[in-house]
């Protein structure tokens, strides 16, 4: 039986035999984002998991502030901060098994770091010494994708290939609210649903695509409502509630791993900083909106819950902060070292074997550099 044959088919016949392929009702998202923290569902949550999420969130926040600081010191060319979105970033990484794959966008270095990649390697693209600083296969993390939504079909293809090979590997792909408008978003979700590929699409709806608010991006009831049009379930979750995001993503991953096909998850969150350090968000949004979201901060939400339930005391908070500080100090120290650059890298990896033309060009650059060197003596 081929992958295609495993499911029923929407192949219309003339009436009265006609019927839709699937019942749309279970594919539609709930009217309100799913929440755990501060609700009754929190009682069911695993305390160890919540504490783990807390440690990661505190570190994640510190990572964001450190990276932003590095742009001011000229140690990073640019940084798109995920401050305010740490719950999504961390939950995305933690919902996956080791053998699974993560497909991040340029804003998702925190998810990459949370998955275990050395932050210096994760930041190479944004520092400017090389496009990708880590070995994707070593960590099962695809390169950070700059062209929006283009990473989504990659995730589908990889998950499909794994399934064909009989591996129970799931791919989780991250995209922003703006990215959902791209054709690649549509094509990826459609392929995933038709192939029943084990993929989870996580849309971080942070309210903006640079300066463009969601209302100019979509007229949909929610972005999660797009799922039904592909025949996959759509889920809406409070993106600042780490426990909720983790639960919804884990469920989607389990569902995919069990052969249930893809899920579209919309996490409603907010970008607390400007688009990048180069952006000026005063041009397009007011402080009051940002302030409103401060009361719904992902780190505080979790900390409040843990404290209220006696799962975290001041020592625990301090321990998490100390670990985060140590992490930031190490990152700072290593980012303050100049990266080692090798101009030969320009030609070495364009093809498996450099073409004759590239060999000529490399020789030309070598000669120029030698002349420069000589000139310097």
């Amino acid at each position: 039986m081929t992958v295609m044959e495993q499911r029923g088919a929407y192949r219309p016949s003339p009436p009265p035999a006609w019927q839709p392929r699937t019942d749309p009702a279970p594919l539609l998202p709930d009217a309100a984002p799913y929440r755990v923290l501060g609700t009754e569902a929190a009682a069911q949550a695993d305390p160890a998991l919540l504490r783990r999420l807390h440690t990661e969130l505190v570190r994640g926040r510190r990572y964001n502030t450190q990276a932003t600081a590095l742009t001011k010191q000229g140690r990073l060319a640019v940084y798109p901060s995920s401050t305010g979105q740490e719950a999504c970033e961390v939950a995305a990484a933690l919902a996956l098994e080791d053998r699974d794959w993560l497909f991040p966008s340029y804003r998702d270095t925190l998810a990459v770091v949370a998955r275990g990649v050395d932050p210096v390697e994760a930041l190479t693209l944004l520092r400017g010494d090389w496009h990708t600083g880590y070995d994707p296969h070593a960590h099962r993390v695809a390169p950070l994708s700059t062209p929006l939504a283009t990473q989504l079909p990659h995730a589908v293809g990889l998950a499909h290939a794994a399934r064909l090979k009989g591996d129970d590997v799931v791919a989780l792909a991250m995209v922003g609210d703006g990215g959902t408008s791209e054709g690649d978003f549509h094509e990826a979700l459609n392929f995933a649903a038709v192939w029943q590929a084990p993929v989870v699409f996580l849309v971080q709806n942070n309210g903006f695509a640079i300066s463009v608010p969601l209302a100019k991006q979509t007229a949909a009831p929610t972005l999660a409502h797009k799922a039904v049009g592909y025949g996959m379930p759509g889920r809406l979750v409070d993106g600042n509630d780490a426990a909720a995001v983790h639960e919804v993503l884990s469920e989607a991953v389990r569902h995919a791993r069990a052969g249930g096909g893809p899920t579209l998850v919309e996490a409603v969150t907010y970008r607390m900083e400007a688009h990048t350090n180069a952006d000026d968000d005063k041009r397009y949004r007011g402080d009051s909106e940002v302030y409103a979201w401060r009361d719904h901060d992902p780190v505080q939400l979790l900390e409040r819950e843990l404290t209220a339930r006696g799962l975290l005391d001041e020592d625990g908070v301090r321990a998490a902060r100390d670990a985060a500080e140590a992490f930031a100090a190490d990152l700072r120290a290593r980012m303050n070292q100049d990266p080692v650059l090798d101009p030969a890298d320009l030609f070495a990896h364009v093809y498996a074997e450099p073409t004759p033309q590239l060999r000529e060009q490399r020789a030309q650059l070598d000669a120029e550099l030698a002349a420069e060197q000589e000139g310097a003596h």
Partner: protein, 334 residues
């Protein structure tokens, strides 16, 4: 042409002024793209337009380049003159099918009944420390697509004049804006912005007798610098700024090369399959017996655009240009 220098303005400011003047002159002119409205564009080229002309004249679109260009086609069909912004060079690629299969062909397809006066603004090229996909020189793709005009300014005055001309053109124009010249300043009087340059005319930026540097956009200032430096070596270089890649000004270019007998084409774009091949080939076809040496090319390497920290090795600089000039067989070996 006869602009009175008052105080220096940047190329970005001249472009903004061109858009504003075009919108004021013709209510059919509409600007659309990602972040062009409230924000004024990531390079601030559309700054203030939404405020002055309203969101319906300068519109923040959803984030989808094929959609932006595709809807612009429909707007042009109904008599508007859309000016579309692609946020960066590499982010114009999703719109290529619309550009190649429709924008460039609609007039021809309909035997002239349905022209598409669309201007596609594309910030292009490197040298600004941009991360991957933010520094491509994509002009070869546009040049290879019949039905498009391809224009690129190198000076503040040309930025104004050529953009006005592009918007006024009844044909689609790909308007390539050299990113690293956005903040370059020139003596240019925004109060008398000057006449509209005709599309399709190159200009001699510096006269010289020894050899011709043929270039455009971001490489024009580099060539002018190289020409200055070359004086020390005894070479008097002429610098031709093409301004328009399509149509190509064979006349200006060839009359220069026939005079100097030697030429180097300079651009950032990769050499192989890049604009320089076309330029060198057509100059050679037309000026063969005037050439003392083959037309040489100084171009980016045939590699994906490098990360910021390595880009200086990739970009054609003064030394590389002078090296090429030195190889122009000054004592012909025949």
């Amino acid at each position: 042409m006869t602009t009175v220098a008052v105080k220096p303005a940047t190329m970005a400011q001249a472009l903004t002024r061109a858009l504003r003047d075009a919108m004021a002159a013709d209510p059919a002119v509409h600007v659309l793209g990602e972040d062009v409205g409230t924000l004024g564009g990531v390079f601030r080229v559309t700054d203030g337009l939404a405020k002055e002309f309203g969101d319906d004249r300068c519109t923040d679109t959803p984030l989808a380049e094929a959609g932006i260009l595709g809807t612009a086609v429909g707007m042009a069909m109904y008599g508007l003159r859309p000016v579309v912004e692609m946020q960066f060079d590499a982010f114009a690629y999703p719109a290529f099918e619309q550009l190649i299969s429709h924008v460039s062909r609609m007039r021809n397809r309909t035997r002239g009944a349905m022209p598409l006066p669309i201007t596609v603004r594309v910030p292009y090229g490197g040298g600004i420390g941009g991360v991957e996909h933010h520094s491509d020189s994509s002009e070869a793709y546009y040049m290879a697509t019949p039905g498009l005009h391809v224009v690129t300014p190198a000076t503040v005055a040309d930025a104004y004049g050529l953009l006005r001309a592009a918007i006024a053109s009844d044909d689609p124009v790909v308007f390539l804006e050299p990113k690293r010249l956005y903040w370059s300043k020139d003596a240019w009087n925004p109060e008398e912005p000057g006449t509209v340059e005709p599309i399709g005319r190159a200009v001699v930026r510096r006269s010289g007798r020894s050899a011709t540097l043929i270039t455009y956009g971001p490489s024009v200032p580099v060539c002018l610098e190289a020409a200055e430096a070359a004086r020390a070596e005894g070479w008097d270089l002429e610098v031709v700024d093409l301004r328009s890649l399509v149509p190509f000004d064979d006349e200006t270019v060839c009359s220069s090369v026939r005079r100097t007998g030697r030429a180097v084409v300079v651009h950032e774009s990769g050499g192989f399959g890049g604009p320089g091949g076309e330029i060198a080939a057509r100059v050679t076809e037309r000026c063969f017996h005037h050439l003392e040496a083959p037309v040489l090319r100084v171009a980016g390497f045939d590699i994906p655009y490098p990360p910021p920290m390595l880009e200086r090795h990739h970009l054609p600089g003064v030394d590389r240009i002078l090296d090429a000039v030195a190889r122009l067989q000054w004592e012909a070996e025949s």
